[in-house]
Amino acid sequence: MNELTKIAYNCKKATFLIEKKLIGKITLREKMELKMHLAGCTICKTFERQSAVINRMVKELFSNVQKENLKLDEQFKENLQHRLEEELNK
């Protein structure tokens, strides 16, 4: 098998390139290899779409939790305030 045929049939390599492309850079050659693979592999195409969505969801998940503005309980904050005052008055 030559190199191109190998990648054309190798889903592990293809999904690796998909990930690399999503958040980094891939070379021209890699782009070509990936394109070839995806032209013939609907499974990895599905993977590609899902992977991008997952990245978006993860980001959204984090920023949502942040927006919810979780609160520390008052007792903890009081103790903490006390601790800081102590340090400041040293």
């Binding site: 999904t15 990930e19 958040i23 499974i43 969505v53 969801m57 520390l72």
Partner: protein
Amino acid sequence: METDKNELTQTKSHECNPRKWVSNYADYLYSYAITRVNDEELARDLIQETFLSALEKIDRFEGRSSESTWLTAILKNKIIDVYRKKSSGLRKIEADVKEQYDTDFFNAEDGHWNDNHRPQVFGIEDYDMLGKKEFNQILKLCMQKLPALWLSVFTMKHMDDEASALICEELKITNANFWVIIHRTKVNLRSCLQKNWL
């Protein structure tokens, strides 16, 4: 011109008032920490440590950034320390996970998808699942199942958009390893979502 000047005076005038830290920033820093370490106890400790070490180096606060940016940066470093500690003791276990992962997801011979992990369309592709509570719950659970080092890499990349080079440096991994981890994490996470959502 006028605006520029104003901005300049404003940036210079960032003040530091430790007596107000708890009431002004504790809740914010807590939510920042909890999303990144997912452990209430640990998050509280980190907040306390952040304030205390901020006090120690308060004379180095130059007012170039706001107080909250400055405190967040200190907290962030503490979180990275946690990641580093968590993942360094686990290299061996993770090497084993790697082995297993490689044969589990793809055929070792030809790199084809193995049956039980093969991607199927399961409803996240075409319409927005964002903000769907149930789905987010599953996403969280699947993330918690990841090995510590993978989750740290993944979190730093996707939550904070850190540069890959910085992540490698902080977590002491090579660039090649970084990409392998990114790949494995995603294959793993996707499979877990599919399994639990379908």
